[in-house]
């Protein structure tokens, strides 16, 4: 959840909420932990800090986990309300006399209040111990947690939805997690007597994670989605936002195990198209090492599997498209607020 303000200086804040949504192990915690690194590496003059000790501790711990220990953060096991304040320099049009308009700088300042919920709370059915069958919100589950999570997402103004194509290849459960939560969000939005609209009002940043994974990168390369930013000193490959939606749809269609191909349709059914944007991301980025100063096609894998099945990070992390979804959401929400 995020609260956002575009006042300079901010005197009052209208809270806007951004939620992070994704299947278990889709990289939600890592995404958030990489945010600090992404902010630091960003060419934009961004600033992020925790609003309390716990959020600051979370950010510091997980950033150190990624950069120093070269480990991935452990999966979140309990609901932890976290909140950061983020400053984003931006510009806005200002009406002048005689009908003229001018552009003036504005400092978008918003709080990211995040309920870093474990992914299993977002499934349509419980997957305790990897087995399906029990209702997600069964009696033995603390009622407050799923309710809080669904309530959180339903009340969000912006949502970061993480789609893990690697997990989809092996587990095929993206749609399962997606559609259950989506139904409950719709229930809370439209089922309380309010005037129903055709679509959910939230802005949705669909983030395809793990571009650094060889299978994802190769598909991007072979599909012609790969681009390079000439301003990037590392020349990391990316997928341009304009073609990200197509790449996402292609990845969903490629799922052999589940029904991920239904996810794009569900997004278009439940969200307003102008409020949806797609990003192809990587929390840790590609490996650059061995004396190289830029991306190397033959040796780029940064996540190294270990004998116990866990992964460690091979070299420095270079997050790709981690901060951009939040920037886009912030701008969208600021526009909403001004309107």
């Amino acid at each position: 959840m995020a609260t956002i303000s575009n006042a300079v200086p901010p005197t009052a804040r209208t809270l806007k909420r951004i939620g992070v949504w994704g299947a278990p192990e889709s990289g939600k915690t890592t995404f958030l932990a990489a945010l600090n690194v992404a902010v630091a590496r960003s060419s934009t003059d961004l600033l992020i800090y925790g609003t309390d000790d716990e959020a600051t501790e979370f950010l510091a711990e997980n950033t150190a986990m990624l950069t120093s220990q070269r480990r991935f953060p452990a999966a979140t096991e309990t609901n932890r309300p976290l909140s950061w304040t983020m400053h984003i320099p931006s510009q806005r049009p200002v009406a002048k006399r005689f009908g003229r308009q001018a552009i003036e700088p504005v400092n978008l300042q918003f709080n990211i209040d995040l309920l870093d919920a474990p992914g299993r709370h977002m499934a349509s059915v419980r997957l305790a111990g990897g087995r399906a069958g029990e209702e997600l919100f069964g009696d033995d589950d603390p009622a407050s947690e799923p309710e809080e999570v669904i309530e959180h997402l339903a009340g969000c103004d912006g949502i970061v939805f993480l789609f893990d194509p690697i997990r989809e290849q092996t587990e095929g459960d993206a749609y399962e997690y997606f559609q259950g939560t989506l139904l409950r969000m719709a229930q809370r939005r439209f089922g309380q007597g309010g005037a129903p609209t055709a679509k959910l009002p939230q802005h949705l940043a669909v983030c395809v994670t793990k571009l650094d994974a060889p299978a994802v990168y190769r598909r991007a390369k072979l599909g012609g989605y790969r681009t390079f930013d000439e301003n990037d000193p590392y020349l990391f490959p990316r997928v341009h936002d304009d073609s990200a939606a197509h790449f996402f749809a292609e990845l969903c269609r490629a799922s052999d195990l589940g029904n991920a191909d239904l996810v794009p349709k569900a997004i278009s059914h439940y969200f307003r198209p102008e409020r949806v944007k797609y990003f192809i991301t990587s929390a840790i980025g590609f490996y650059v090492g061995g004396g190289a100063s830029r991306f190397r096609e033959h040796d780029y894998q940064n996540a190294v599997r270990e004998s116990d099945g866990s992964y460690h990070i091979r070299g420095p992390i270079h997050p790709i498209n981690v901060v951009e979804p939040l920037l886009w959401l912030a701008k969208c929400l600021a526009m909403d607020q001004r309107a």
Binding site: R70, P214, A215, Y217, R218, R219, G289, G290, E297, H298, D299, Y300, Q301, V304, R305, E306, S307, H312, R314, G315, P316
Partner: protein, 598 residues
């Protein structure tokens, strides 16, 4: 007047039958004088007796002097009493004249050597020995080795059987043989002798008569010599050591130089074509004399524990490798990979194998054994260069078993190839690439250059294991790269190169792929290294995995184990040595010595 058998009067001195002559034609004894009147007085009789005794004594003394220089040796057989010193001296002088021309023992040996060297395949050379025991006939022919072989088909013809009229007593008979006939009928003696001497036939004859001057012996020698168209009569003095002529001939045969060379049948293998052919490796050359000992270096085909057949053949003269009757013995093949066959020449046709010990007659037909020599050895006999490359990362048990298998193999090979020139081994071990910025390019291969097996075994004990840090691949590509360097010159040096790869995980790729492990930090290309090994270096690659690999792994391991891929539980050191072709299990045996190339 004495008579023989009471029928024919003979000379009272020498026993020659009396004729119409007044004096004995042999000893000049006056046989007839004009009659005179009156009674023979005692003085006249005494004077006659003394004169007769003297004549007899002088005659017998001359016989005794031929037989012995000792006047006392046959004194009892001398009629007329003990000869005076003057008489004995005269007798000895006469004996010397009678035996003049007799050859010495040394000269006799030389003559025998000439005779033996003159032996040809046909006809036989006959050597007749005539001595105081009788007449002995020996035939000398060439044996299968082209050496004179003395053959005595019949025993000695003893004088007492040939000439029964001679005295029964040995000394008396010998005295008679030497010429002391006494009153014996000389005509009958010669007649009997001429009938009794053996018939030799058309063979070439050499008659050895000794001692010289013995009348019966000389006459017998003449009779036999006259029978043959080509004969040689040799009168010889008795041997100083009283050795018989047979012993003398045996000695000459034994010490005679070889007339033809001898060789050992061996197999020779071409290290390139692996074809096997047989050849006779020379041992002794014509002219070599007994006492010489030579050796041939041979090699046991690794793994062969059977018998080896040693066949000595005569070289040249068409007596080729297919000679049907060589001297053939069998022996247990020595345990040493390289061994020597030492052959001593005891004499013509007499060969003694001094190495290997424990030879025994080969009971199987030689040609049957010869037919078992294979035309080709599929897996040949080196020299080999072997690299044992082990993934040292894994659980302690896994690493222990991998090292154990290689250790067993090296122990087995050390017994067969102790010398570095036949087998050089390098043991390499790798631990995992550590994918972190500081460790990425750390060398993960340990090992030593090619060395004798014993040193490689010591190296193996120093290769300790490590934990797996990257489960999806092992630095097999680093091992292959290192191996390619070690074996790059082997083929050029005529050495057969082998690689044994032991592990479970597959190599890192050279470049990142969609479903591949992280690439090798050194960018080694395991397929390129493998191609270099198998194509350029002609390396045979055997791979051993801990267990059956997964489907994806199996595809890679099949490439790595191009020659053979097996699992550790289903193989052992003996099988591995077979797969590697270093100790081929089913290689045909070579029943004769495999010679080391000159």
């Amino acid at each position: 007047m004495p008579e023989t058998g009471g029928t024919r009067p003979v000379c009272p001195v020498c026993g020659l039958p009396i004729t119409e002559q007044q004096g004995c034609t042999e000893c000049s004894w006056t046989l007839r004088t004009p009659r005179r009147s009156g009674v023979v007085s005692a003085e006249q009789r005494q004077e006659f007796d003394e004169r007769l005794d003297g004549a007899r004594r002088r005659l017998d003394a001359s016989v005794a002097a031929i037989m012995s220089p000792d006047p006392q040796r046959f004194a009892s057989l001398i009629r007329g009493g003990q000869p005076t010193a003057a008489e004995w001296k005269a007798a000895r002088q006469a004996a010397e004249r009678a035996t003049a021309g007799a050859v010495t023992d040394e000269r006799l040996r030389a003559i025998l050597a000439e005779v033996l060297s003159d032996v040809t395949a046909e006809p036989d050379m006959v050597i007749v020995e005539i001595d105081d025991h009788g007449i002995t006939i020996a035939r000398v022919r060439l044996d299968g080795f082209g050496s004179p072989l003395l053959h005595r088909p019949e025993p000695t013809l003893a004088w007492q059987h040939m000439l029964p009229l001679l005295a029964k007593h040995a000394d008396e008979r010998r005295f008679q043989l030497a010429g002391g006939f006494g009153s014996a009928d000389r005509d009958e003696l010669w007649t009997t002798l001429s009938k009794a001497v053996p018939k030799i036939g058309d063979d070439r004859v050499t008659v050895i008569c000794r001692p010289p001057g013995w009348q019966v012996l000389d006459r017998a020698a003449e009779l036999i010599s006259r029978q043959a168209a080509a004969s040689r009569l040799v009168r010889a003095v008795p041997a100083a050591d009283s050795s018989s002529l047979a012993a003398l001939i045996d000695g000459e045969v034994a010490t005679a130089p070889l007339r033809r060379g001898y060789g050992l049948m061996v197999a020779v293998a071409d290290p390139v074509t692996k074809e096997v052919h047989t050849q006779v490796r020379p041992l002794f050359a014509p002219g070599d004399r007994p006492g010489r000992e030579v050796s041939v270096a041979a090699r046991r085909v690794p793994g062969d524990r059977g018998d080896v057949t040693l066949a000595i053949l005569v070289d040249g003269n068409g007596a080729t490798q297919r000679q049907e009757q060589p001297m053939v013995v069998a022996a247990a093949i020595p345990q040493e990979p390289d061994y020597r066959i030492s052959v001593a020449l005891d004499g013509p046709g007499r060969i003694r194998i001094t190495e290997p010990a424990g030879t025994r007659p080969q009971e199987r037909p030689w040609l049957e054994i010869l037919a078992e020599v294979p035309h080709q050895l599929d897996a040949l006999i080196g020299p080999f260069d072997l690299v044992c490359a082990i993934d040292l990362a894994g659980t302690k048990a896994e690493v222990r078993e991998r090292r154990g298998l290689v250790g067993e193999l090296l122990t087995l090979l050390e017994g067969e190839y102790p010398q570095a020139e036949m087998l050089r081994v390098s043991v390499l071990g790798c631990t995992d690439h550590v994918f972190s910025p500081r460790s990425d390019r750390t060398n993960v291969v340990r090992g030593a250059p090619l060395a004798p097996v014993g040193e490689a075994r010591a190296m193996l004990t120093g290769l300790t294991g490590a934990d797996v840090v990257y489960p999806d691949a092992a630095p097999i590509e680093d091992l292959l790269h290192k191996t390619a360097g070690l074996l790059s010159d082997s083929h050029r040096q005529g050495r057969q190169a082998r690689l044994l790869l032991v592990g479970q995980r597959t190599p890192h790729p050279r470049a990142q792929g969609p479903n591949t492990p992280i690439p090798c930090p050194f960018r080694y290309d395991w397929r390129a290294a493998l191609r270099t090994l198998t194509d350029s270096c002609a390396v045979a690659c055997v791979a051993v995995t801990d267990k059956a690999p997964s489907r994806d792994q199996a595809r890679v391991w099949r490439e790595l184990g191009k020659t053979m891929l097996c699992h550790r539980d289903a193989t052992d050191a003996r099988q591995l040595s077979d797969y590697l072709g270093i100790l081929p299990a089913n290689s045909p045996r070579i029943p004769i010595p495999l010679a080391i190339s000159n």
